[in-house]
Symmetry: C2
């Protein structure tokens, strides 16, 4: 589980590391970024907790590292931030690079069951198991593997919600920006699940749908979700946070906080504005 360091960049008193490793689950070299806050470099200091940020369609690890402003809050709280990539790269599957919303850059944080994508498109296993195991081993003296939270944007918000809901206790908290909360009922999700699971595999679809998963959740959820009212994808019905809220309410799930931010759009300008709030939310459960 060797990790290659491509770059070390000073950021908010800590270090933004550009890293890569050969991943078994995806069958290719995977790039990722890791922000280590200043507290991680205090000799004899305590290990820092980890916040995983899952990116949206078309993104790599770099977009949010550069534009998301998570390092600002993470440096103050003493939280490491892991920025994974959004899919395998260069597997050579015919058509995998043809669309922005399916294939490369659009792994949807699932393990594909349908050929040819079942060969390598295993972002669920990669994000829940292989990548964190690799990071915890490589940074064992700096990162506390027992304190991990998760967040994400759009497709990555779907990833954060579904990974949290499918793995009770694995993550200390969850939050999301403009998440796809009901993929089985929106064009993006239907296209992805059809391609990765097959049209008839509806049970599998529901296993990766936050609105379906929340119906079975036990206890409080304590999730923070920000959705911009100026977000065109929200207006187009790709995100459907109302469906998630309704399902949570009907299941009597407490702690679901959805903030509709006036005029904010789907871009990183929105993440930058509210990143501190999401780091603060994670910090409440990580410390």
């Amino acid at each position: 589980m060797a990790v290659t360091t491509k770059a070390t960049i000073a950021s908010f008193g800590g270090k933004l590391l550009k890293l890569s490793h050969n991943a078994k689950t995806t069958g290719c070299e995977m790039s990722f970024n890791l922000y280590l806050p200043p507290q991680a470099f205090v000799s004899g200091g305590q290990k820092v907790p980890l916040l995983i940020y899952l990116s949206g369609l078309t993104c790599t690890a770099d977009n949010c590292s550069e534009k998301g402003f998570f390092q600002h809050g993470a440096s103050k709280k003493g939280i490491a931030v892991l920025y994974p990539d959004t899919s395998p790269r260069g597997l050579g599957i015919q058509g995998e690079d043809d669309a922005y919303d399916f294939g490369s850059g659009a792994g949807f944080y699932v393990d594909a069951t349908l050929p040819p994508y079942d060969k390598g498109y295993n972002m669920y296993s990669y994000i829940t198991e292989e990548l964190p195991a690799t990071v915890f081993e490589a940074f064992a003296s700096q990162i506390d593997r027992e304190r991990v939270s998760i967040t994400g944007h759009s497709m990555g918000g779907h990833g954060a919600l579904t990974l949290f809901l499918r793995n009770p206790g694995k993550y200390k908290s969850v939050s999301a920006f403009a998440p796809i909360t009901n993929p089985i009922n929106c064009p993006w999700g239907q296209k992805a699940f059809k391609g990765y699971f097959g049209e008839d595999n509806q049970e599998k679809w529901k296993e990766h749908d936050a609105t379906e998963l929340v119906k079975k959740w036990k206890g409080p959820l304590n999730v923070l979700i920000d959705v911009g009212t100026g977000d065109n994808f929200y207006k187009q019905g790709q995100l459907l946070p109302e469906n998630f809220a309704k399902a949570a309410q009907e299941a009597d799930i407490k702690g679901v906080q959805i903030r509709y931010q006036p005029d904010y759009d789907h871009s990183y300008y929105t993440m930058a504005t509210f990143a501190d709030d999401h780091v603060e939310h994670a910090a409440k459960y990580l410390f």
Copy 2:
């Protein structure tokens, strides 16, 4: 002096406006961004001061708007931020797009005197006169034309320092990130001044060299400069802040604060980290 609005983006409680206008000084349509903080939208509220951020080589108005995080501090202080472009665009001058460090994206904030660049490469007049006049007219009810400060990065740091030093009283304060402080003695500056002024026009070169200009400055300067010790362009002798510091010291100029930030590089990760400090520096003189 009509301004066209291309986009209005919510950011840190205010609005990031993507704008353009047909500029006489450059003879082309010029794009620029303007951040209006929340305080600018308080009905019956006071006008807000303006901080001009000059970008570096290859950049447009968007780079720092997305990655610099000036909006974070500006939204708290109540300061508008103007992000101009770095050169005329599309003038059709042969070779203007051939190099990253000369021509388009590399106007160096001077008025060229040498053909063919004397046709339109007038970024000094554009930044000191035409653009602010356009902004003050279009946003007369929101921006206070009497309170303007200036900052910038690399080539834009050169711009901020030289525009401030050439125009006593025009700007309330100046700061810079990794500025080119002695262009007549570094490869970037020599190439630019040779192309815009001609090799023999040494007096003109000195008129746009911060290290030469500071020798003639009267009174305190109160400038904040951040330079990263991991900045490859600093290591290569493109920035030469020591020359500027020495000239200021020999001229007994007070208030020159140069901070050498350990390991920080030439990228926007550095601006993001210290943007709040530079907004705070400007706020001291704008309020």
